[in-house]
Each structure stands twice: as structure tokens, then as C-alpha cells.
């Protein structure tokens, strides 16, 4: 028997349209109406300002620990903008930009990060799963949703988000394998932000790209400049169209960078250099998109102020919400309350009647986290 060479039957594309120097590849420029560009920009600014505001709220003890997105706005908005409301979005825990685009009210996100279950409830007509915290475990759910949509004959595409760290998890590989075998309408969006807390990409995988992992499962993977919203949008639109016309899944690797902390309990100065961060700050997706729109004369006066006012109103609404009703913790364990939970609920009701505190009386400042005072990132 011969020992022969199997020709690799795949290639991995890299897509960049608008680079950090402002150079535009006009041949690849997606055909986006001005109104859509302005809309994307509005949400990008909103996501950035909200993220910065949320870090401040956390430092002031007004919300709990959360995972900032600064630097990843283009990766999220460029992809999510390709979905229609009847498509499904399956986030991990660092998708603030994608979530607000999909209609999650800001005050609901603030509720979520303040430990309120109510913050995880999608609206009745919203086709979004809530924030998922265990890394990669939501990816199979997206594949199952896509299978169900296909089974029912619905014209729905599912998009799911995860990071570079997630690609080491078994659930990532199992989910991609099932998606390939089933040929379901799902788009996997990996936000490769270079760091899984303190572990850099080179310690996470020996593959040259994350995109090429798709080929092991029999479908295309593409790497895009994740800080270039035009490239992200172009790749995602192609993937969503492919899924919708029945041509199966796609993996999009958005090469981006987490400019901030992993979560507000993290101190990145311990594991990465200021030079590296500064280098990525020069590739900031917002700066780049601003320059592009400026050239096209599409920037709107006073956008920042309007966005800040929008955020301030949401924060005010959030802080005016009534405290958590402790007794509702029993409402959604099962469809019907079994006898032992009825008894436990009654026991808590009695404690509350006897004057036990129902929850946080004020929102106390979180205890200082490791390095919190020594870093401004």
C-alpha cells in the first residue's frame, strides 16, 4: 500500500477592508446605505460609552462584577447587524454591544450585573438566549436551536458568540462537529481577543488560526480583522446568507483585543505589557470607523451627548427599580410549585413577616479586588 499525500482541500481566508491607518479596499467595501452606517456607528458609540459607564458604576459599588467589552465593539456589532429579529442570538458573557443591538434594555443589563434574576429575562418576542457564564457551554444550544429551526422549516439563522479560550473546551468541538454533520443554519462567532483572563492565545492553541478549526468539521472558517467593522460585517453577511440558503454553518474568527480588564475583578497589568495594550489602542475599532465616516461626511453633531443622556436615563430607571422581591425565587424552578418548595416558600414568607431583611438594603460597594486600585484599565 502506498503512503501518499492527501492534498489539503481547504484554505483559510483573512479579510480586512479598512485598516488601522484608514486605508480602504474599495473593491471589498460592503454596499451599506448611509443610514445603516450611521446606525452602526450610533450603536458602537453607545456600546463604548455604556461600557465605560458600567466600569465606573462597578467601581462606585452601584453594580456588581461584569465583563467589559471595550475594543470588541466592531466584532459584535458587525456580526449581530446581519441578523433579523426572528433569527436567534446566543451570547456568552461579554456581549453587551450585541445584546443592546438586539433590544436588551440597558437597565436590564444593569439589573443582571447587580445580581437580579430579572436582568436575564428576554422579552416575549425576543429570540435571544440570556447571558451564559460557563465557557463554551452555550454553543451546543445554538446548534440545537438551529436544528429545531430547520426541523420546523423556519427561516431562522442562529448566531452564537464565544472567545478564544472557549475553543479549547470540549463543548466547542462537539458543537461544531454536530453542526457540520447536521448541516444546520448556525454562525459561530469567535471573538479572539488574545487573552483568556491571563492566558495568551499562543498558550491556548497551537493552530495558526482559530478559523481553520472549522475545516476539521467540514465547513468554512474565515478570519477577519475584528476591529474593522466593515470586514466583520461583510464576512457575517456572507455567513448568514449561506446559513439561510441551506448551505450550513460558518466559523468567523474576529481578531480583536480586550482593551480593558477580563472582569472588573481582574488586574491585567499582572500578565500583559502596557506597550501591547497601547499597540492595540492604535487599532481601536471606533477610531477607525469614525475616520471612515468623517471622510464620507456621515458624522452627526452631538452624538456622544445624546448617547450619554440615553445611558443616564437608563441608569436612573435602573436605580429607581424596586428592590428584589425575595419570595419570587421560588416562581421559576418548575412550571408548578412542588410541595417541598411550597413549604420552603411559606417558611421564608414567615421569616419576612417576622422582620428578616428581604435583600440588600442599600447596594454596598463590592470589596476591593486584587489590584483594583493599581490599574486604570
Amino acid at each position: 500500500m502506498p503512503r501518499t499525500r492527501l492534498e489539503p482541500r481547504f484554505q483559510v481566508e483573512y479579510l480586512s477592508i479598512l485598516d488601522s491607518e484608514g486605508n480602504l479596499d474599495a473593491a471589498l467595501e460592503p454596499d451599506l446605505p448611509d443610514a445603516d452606517l450611521k446606525r452602526l456607528y450610533h450603536w458602537m458609540v453607545l456600546a463604548r460609552r455604556l461600557d465605560e459607564r458600567m466600569v465606573r458604576l462597578q467601581r462606585q459599588g452601584r453594580i456588581g462584577t461584569f465583563a467589559p467589552i471595550k475594543g470588541q465593539e466592531a466584532s459584535q456589532l458587525g456580526t449581530v447587524a446581519c441578523l433579523s429579529p426572528t433569527d436567534w442570538m446566543v451570547p456568552s458573557f461579554r456581549e453587551t454591544a450585541a445584546m443592546i443591538w438586539r433590544g436588551w434594555p440597558i437597565e436590564k443589563l444593569l439589573l443582571f450585573f447587580s445580581g437580579h434574576l430579572e436582568g436575564g429575562q428576554p422579552a416575549p418576542d425576543q429570540h435571544d438566549l440570556p447571558i451564559t457564564i460557563p465557557v463554551a457551554t452555550q454553543i451546543p444550544h445554538a446548534v440545537g436551536l438551529a436544528y429545531a429551526a430547520q426541523y420546523r422549516g423556519d427561516d431562522a439563522v442562529v448566531m452564537t458568540y464565544f472567545g478564544d479560550g472557549a475553543t479549547s473546551e470540549g463543548d466547542f468541538h462537539e458543537a461544531l462537529n454536530f453542526a457540520g454533520v447536521w448541516h444546520v443554519p448556525v454562525v459561530f462567532v469567535c471573538q479572539n481577543n488574545q487573552w483568556a483572563i491571563s492566558v495568551p492565545l499562543k498558550k491556548q492553541t497551537h493552530s495558526r488560526t482559530i478559523a481553520e478549526k472549522a475545516h476539521a468539521y467540514g465547513f468554512p472558517g474565515i478570519q477577519v480583522d475584528g476591529n474593522d467593522v466593515l470586514a466583520v460585517y461583510a464576512a457575517a453577511r456572507e455567513a448568514v446568507e449561506r446559513a439561510r440558503r441551506g448551505d450550513g454553518p460558518t466559523l468567523i474568527e474576529c481578531v480583536t483585543y480586550r482593551l480593558g480588564v477580563h472582569t472588573t475583578a481582574d488586574d491585567p497589568t499582572k500578565y500583559r505589557s502596557a506597550e501591547e495594550v497601547a499597540e492595540w489602542e492604535r487599532k481601536d475599532p471606533l477610531t477607525r470607523f469614525t475616520a471612515y465616516l468623517q471622510k464620507r461626511n456621515l458624522l452627526e453633531e452631538g452624538l456622544e451627548d445624546r448617547v450619554d443622556a440615553e445611558i443616564a436615563e437608563a441608569v436612573a430607571r435602573f436605580e429607581a427599580l424596586p428592590p428584589a422581591d425575595a419570595l419570587t425565587m421560588f416562581d421559576h424552578v418548575y412550571a408548578e410549585l412542588p410541595p417541598h418548595l411550597r413549604a420552603q416558600r411559606e417558611s421564608l414568607a414567615q421569616r419576612l413577616r417576622d422582620g428578616a431583611p428581604a435583600g440588600e438594603e442599600t447596594r454596598p460597594a463590592s470589596p476591593p479586588m486584587r489590584g483594583q486600585r493599581t490599574t486604570d484599565r
Binding site: 436575564g120 457551554t137 451546543p140 444550544h141 436551536l145 436544528y147 429545531a148 421559576h332 412550571a335
Partner: protein, 321 residues
């Protein structure tokens, strides 16, 4: 019992197009125990899915299908392999209703063969019900024979919440009884008194029910003592009312299970009896269970899994306390 389970699946699939079956070898092969026999031929590969070999994705994708509104019935080939998907049960199936405050729920059934007595290797003969019973948001069901297996599986499929459904391998072929063609259900969360008595309560489930019944028969014949026997059927939510009601009457209780003794279902049952029937107790509650060892191999299984003699000895000690 295999045929009864197959009947339940077939009838539910005929009744409701949202019911799907998914697992390893459940399609063309009909499952390693033949529970899904011929379903593939009737309903096709899109509804009876021969999945790739990956427990976490079988359950994970089924959760996605259930969130969409389908009613997937997964098969995990042996309960010993379910730790590879345990995070999907604990992190997600059990929690989506809570996490989304009722916006989504997970109408999912996961069937798994469990238990010893069939000369099976490691990971093919254990009892792991306590892991699932401990997770709020899951229901844990274990039938003891063909008729209640069929009725409970039907109820589990129609239930809006995730149900872990354990099928005892020793009962698959050995347990035989008439099962009516007409669909029938049994409420989840409700135990059955299968033998009435006034002297002592024996509490069991799955294959241990037969063991408890055998002990009860010997007690009646040789000791002239009438034991009450409770078939739990649902481990969680536990039917404390039936248990406490019985022990209030008898004053004595022996709990039988095949899982290791410590932190098993027996502990929760015993605590529930203490809370609900303390003043009626005439003797300490006894547990007859497997020893607290990881596994023993089938050459030693007979001495590890409770049998009627051990239950009888425990009952006699309790009665003479």
C-alpha cells in the same frame, strides 16, 4: 419493559410531531437495549437522530431544541457516561426557566439505563440518581416495571420541565406485565403504596422494589408481620406526604437503594421521616444500600447490591428494636 418504553415513545411521536429521539445508536440499530427499535423506520432520521458520539452535545443540542419548543428525548447509552454531560444538566437544563424568569423552559427527557445485575463492566452498572435528585430544577424518575415505565415516560415527555429518566437494566427484559394499548400516564412526583401493611414501611424504587417486595412476602409468611411497601417512582421531587403518612402509621422504616449509602436518596428520605413522623417512630430508620466504594465489578456485585436477605435482616432488627 423495553417494549413498554418503546410503545410510549412510538405513541408520543405519533401524537406530537415535536417529539424527537436523539442519541448514540438510537436510529438504525434501535438502541443498544432496543428501546428505540423501529422508530427510525417509522419516523425517519430527522426525528430519530443517530448522533455523533458526544454526550455533552447530545444533551446540549437537545436543550437548544427544547428551548425552541421541541420535545427531545435523549438517550445516554449508560448512566455511567452521563458525567460527560452533567454540566449541561446542572448548568443549563435545570436553570433556563429560572435564568430567564419563565421566558424559556426546557421540556427535555433524558433516558439512561442504570443499575447492576446484568454482568456489566465498570461504568455500566452503577446507580447515580442522587446526583440528579440534588439539582433543583430537574426531575428524577425511576420506574419499577413495564406498566409504570410506559406511563411515567409518557408523563415525562409531556412535562414542561427537564426529566432525568432512569431505566434499570435488570428490568429491561426480566420485568414483564400487561401494558394496555390505550395511552395512560402517571403523575410525576407521586409515590405508590404497592403493598399495604401496618408494622413497618419498606421504601424502594427501580429494581430494588422487587427486593423489598420479596422481603415483605417473607415477613408475612415467616414472621406474620405485614410490611407496607412504597414504590417511589419519582426520586425528585420526593413524595414526602406518602412516605410520612405511611411511617406515621407503621412507626418503622427501612429504605432500600442500589446506590452507595452515604449522601444517597435514603438520607433525604430518612431526614424527611424525622421531620414529618418523629413522634411516631418506634425504631431508628435503617438504610440498606450499596457500600461506599467506587465500584466493585460484577464478580463481587451480589454482595454489594442489596438483596432480600439484607432487607429482611434490617427489617427484623427494626421490628425488634
Amino acid at each position: 419493559m423495553v417494549k413498554a418504553l418503546n410503545l410510549a415513545l412510538r405513541q408520543e411521536m405519533e401524537r406530537d410531531a415535536d417529539v424527537l429521539v436523539i442519541g448514540e445508536d438510537v436510529g438504525v440499530d434501535g438502541g443498544v437495549f432496543r428501546v428505540t427499535e423501529d422508530l427510525h423506520r417509522t419516523f425517519g432520521g430527522r426525528r430519530v437522530i443517530d448522533s455523533p458520539l458526544a454526550e455533552a452535545a447530545i444533551v446540549g443540542t437537545s436543550i437548544g431544541m427544547a428551548l425552541y419548543g421541541l420535545r427531545p428525548v435523549c438517550e445516554i447509552q449508560f448512566s455511567g457516561f452521563a458525567f460527560q454531560c452533567f454540566h449541561q444538566f446542572e448548568n443549563h437544563a435545570a436553570r433556563y426557566r429560572m435564568r430567564t424568569q419563565g421566558r424559556f423552559h426546557v421540556p427535555l427527557v433524558v433516558r439512561m439505563p442504570f443499575g447492576g445485575g446484568v454482568r456489566a463492566l465498570e461504568h455500566h452498572s452503577e446507580s447515580e440518581e442522587q446526583f440528579y435528585a440534588h439539582v433543583p430544577g430537574l426531575k428524577m424518575v425511576i420506574p419499577s416495571g413495564p406498566r409504570n415505565a410506559r406511563a411515567l415516560l409518557l408523563s415525562a415527555i409531556r412535562d414542561p420541565d427537564p426529566v432525568i429518566f432512569f431505566e434499570h437494566k435488570a428490568l429491561y427484559h426480566a420485568s414483564r406485565e400487561e401494558v394496555p394499548e390505550e395511552p395512560e400516564t402517571l403523575p410525576l412526583g407521586q409515590a405508590q403504596v404497592v403493598r399495604e401493611g401496618s408494622a413497618i414501611t419498606l421504601i424502594a424504587y427501580g429494581a430494588m422494589l422487587r427486593v423489598a417486595q420479596e422481603a415483605a412476602e417473607t415477613l408475612a409468611r415467616d414472621d406474620r408481620v405485614e410490611a407496607e411497601v412504597i414504590d417511589l417512582l419519582t426520586i425528585s421531587p420526593l413524595d414526602r406526604e406518602t412516605i410520612v403518612g405511611s411511617v406515621t402509621k407503621t412507626g418503622r422504616a427501612v429504605i432500600v437503594h442500589e446506590a452507595p449509602r452515604s449522601f444517597g436518596a435514603g438520607a433525604e428520605i430518612a431526614a424527611s421521616i424525622m421531620e414529618g413522623a418523629f413522634l411516631s417512630l418506634e425504631a431508628p430508620i435503617r438504610r440498606v444500600a450499596a457500600y461506599d466504594v467506587p465500584f466493585v465489578g460484577f464478580a463481587r456485585e451480589r454482595v454489594n447490591v442489596p438483596d432480600a436477605a439484607r432487607v429482611l435482616a434490617a427489617a427484623r432488627e427494626t421490628l425488634s428494636y
